[in-house]
Amino acid sequence: MLWLYLHFPHLLLDHIRRTREEAGALVIVEGSGQKVIQACPDARDQGIQAGMRLKTAISLVPELGMVRADQQQEARILEDQARWLYRYADHIVLVPPDGLMAEIASLQRLYGGLPAVWQTVEQALDERQLTAWPGIGHTPPAARLIARTGKGECTEDSGHILRTLSQMPLLAAEFDARTCTRLQRLGLNTLGEVFDLPAAELARRLSPETLAWVQKIQGARPDPQSPWQPPHHFRQQADFVQEIEQSQGLLFPLQRILSELEEDLCWRQQETDSLLLILHHRHEEPTRLRIRTSGPEHRAEAFLNLIRLRFEQHPLRAPVISLLLSVQRFLGREAPTGQDLLGETQDLNEAWHTLMSRLQARLGDHALKQLSPQADHRPERAWSASAVQRNNRPEVTPASHLPRRPLWLLQGPQPLTEAPSAWFAGPERISGGWWDGQRVHRDYYIAQLNNGQLAWVFRDVRDGWFVHGWFG
């Protein structure tokens, strides 16, 4: 087994920096807000260092951007990293708060050697503008220790790895503070000297845990790692240093997230038709926007256009401090076909989906309807409206078995205010609905009103006369 460990020295900083358009010094402060724990290169150039007090940092750089470290957020960001790493390696272990581990011995044949694996990962890190210190070891702790020193090398030579470990100072070997002091009092300074101690004595004089840790580093004791499984949904969050007041400002981070979604969907060979965009505000309830497309879609550009349209329609209620995009619903991607049986080209199909999605994004989901007849005798129930859907059903033959009906149906029966000038057909008795309480008992006639309108009128049991439709 060979493990690759990625140590992210300032993951939160990287995460925030890449959703930022404007440049400027940025630091991460610890939870209590007293100390700087991570500083971006800009800030470092101006003299700010990790570990510095926040007051000192602000006096050095008055316009300093600050973000408070948040454990939950860090865990989430780490998982985002695991998600892309999963494309390259299958056995991944999360090591919170800032480490990822992947088993790479099995990948060597796939990529064509260890250097190729190393290069692939470095390239991926580069694309995402992430700073990570890689390290390779034969055991998970060994890989971790090497990575955290920042001196990881692309080698699978166990002798070399062991030498690197042996030269490591005790302070870097992650013993607990008490053990570390005791070992130092014994006159030991490097990990190699600890390796040389007899195991039984080590356990007896120090503690069995210390021995276990040393053996795990060396690989003499099993150290099983349970692999991480990627969730079946997509979730990405962008956090902002400064509140964003204009929806235009949201489009930039969204573009990046959407292109990651596109990449993700391409990898999964899937598409989606609904996105959930949640905008968090400082003092108000989050805004939830559901972006729907009328058909399966994976292109970032199409989603962005819909979101832009939505923003034009609904301006922001309050400044936004972070946005979250999640996708829960995935659909299998259909193979693009040149032409289907009806001779309809893919192009036209796509144009149809684009148009419907645009209309739905601006007008709302309920503005668009498709009609279909229903099997019921009552005229108001003999039709139904449903959400638009692309159907390529074989053409239906004219349903000439249906009775003659007017093309216009009124929303509800309107009282007949005048005596019709002529009567043409009737009565047609429609009686039904006893089974669901919506009783209808009417005699329908076709009549012409004085102004020439041809109407479908009825008389119901209460002897009232109503117009129910127009023969348009």
Partner: protein, 229 residues
């Protein structure tokens, strides 16, 4: 003839009626031979606006467009009903052989949305026919729609009230609809691009309620008092 008149006559900016040449604009046959003849053998103009001006529904105005709806919906083009005043009755449309999969009904809340929707529908290649019932339209807005219609190549019919006949409009075809004798539909061509207006015709529309030219109505028995109803 004076010198001034002669130069004016030679100027291409002056349109001369007797030298009128047949313009060939893309069009869809209406499905009514009588009307097609009146429209110069063409029909509904494509890539341009048409207007139907009528007082009240139920005089056969939908049947005027039904042949076009049938044809377009079966050739895979979408038919949009934008803000119809009543519900298009699905069983009746199905009976007439309109492919309901291609019929989309849209309701918009305000005028801004209406114009935006109409423009988007007109520009799309999937659209075959748009039937729209606008509320009030300023002539500037009709002009905007005309430009949008020119961008696509589909038929767009606006249904407006008859009082707008007097108002001028950039639409390529304007029809005034009135009920006629025996449930017929009387048409008056108010405007036709590239030709003279003023043709009139009547289309028999009694089939829309299965009424043939029978003198005696098929009412079995009037349940109403003979004197009043």
């Amino acid at each position: 003839m004076s010198e001034l008149l002669k130069t004016l006559m030679q100027d291409a900016r002056v349109w001369q009626g007797h030298r009128h040449v047949q313009t060939s604009q893309p069009a869809e046959p209406t499905g009514y031979q009588v009307l097609d003849n009146q429209l110069g053998g063409l029909g509904w103009p494509r890539g341009a606006l048409s207007e139907c001006l009528l007082d009240s529904p139920g005089i056969g105005e939908l049947h005027l467009l039904l042949p076009l709806m049938q044809r377009l919906s079966h050739s895979g083009k979408t038919v949009f009903w934008l803000n119809p005043p009543h519900t298009p009755y699905a069983p009746a449309l199905a009976r007439e052989g309109v492919n309901l999969d291609q019929v989309v009904m849209i309701h918009t809340d305000d005028d801004g949305d209406f114009l935006w929707t109409l423009e988007n529908c007109l520009r799309s290649p999937v659209t075959g026919l748009v039937m729209a019932w606008p509320g009030k339209l300023a002539s500037r807005e009709v002009r905007r729609l005309q430009l949008a219609a020119e961008a696509g190549s589909n038929v767009c019919v606006l249904f407006r009230e008859r009082r707008y006949v007097e108002q001028n409009s950039p639409a390529a075809l304007r029809l005034e609809l009135e009920p006629g004798e025996q449930q017929a539909l009387k048409l008056n061509i108010v405007k036709r691009r590239g030709s003279w207006p003023g043709q009139r015709c009547a289309l028999a529309m009694s089939h829309r309620a299965d009424l043939s030219f029978r003198e005696a109505p098929r009412v079995v028995q009037g349940p109403w008092p003979t004197s009043t109803r």
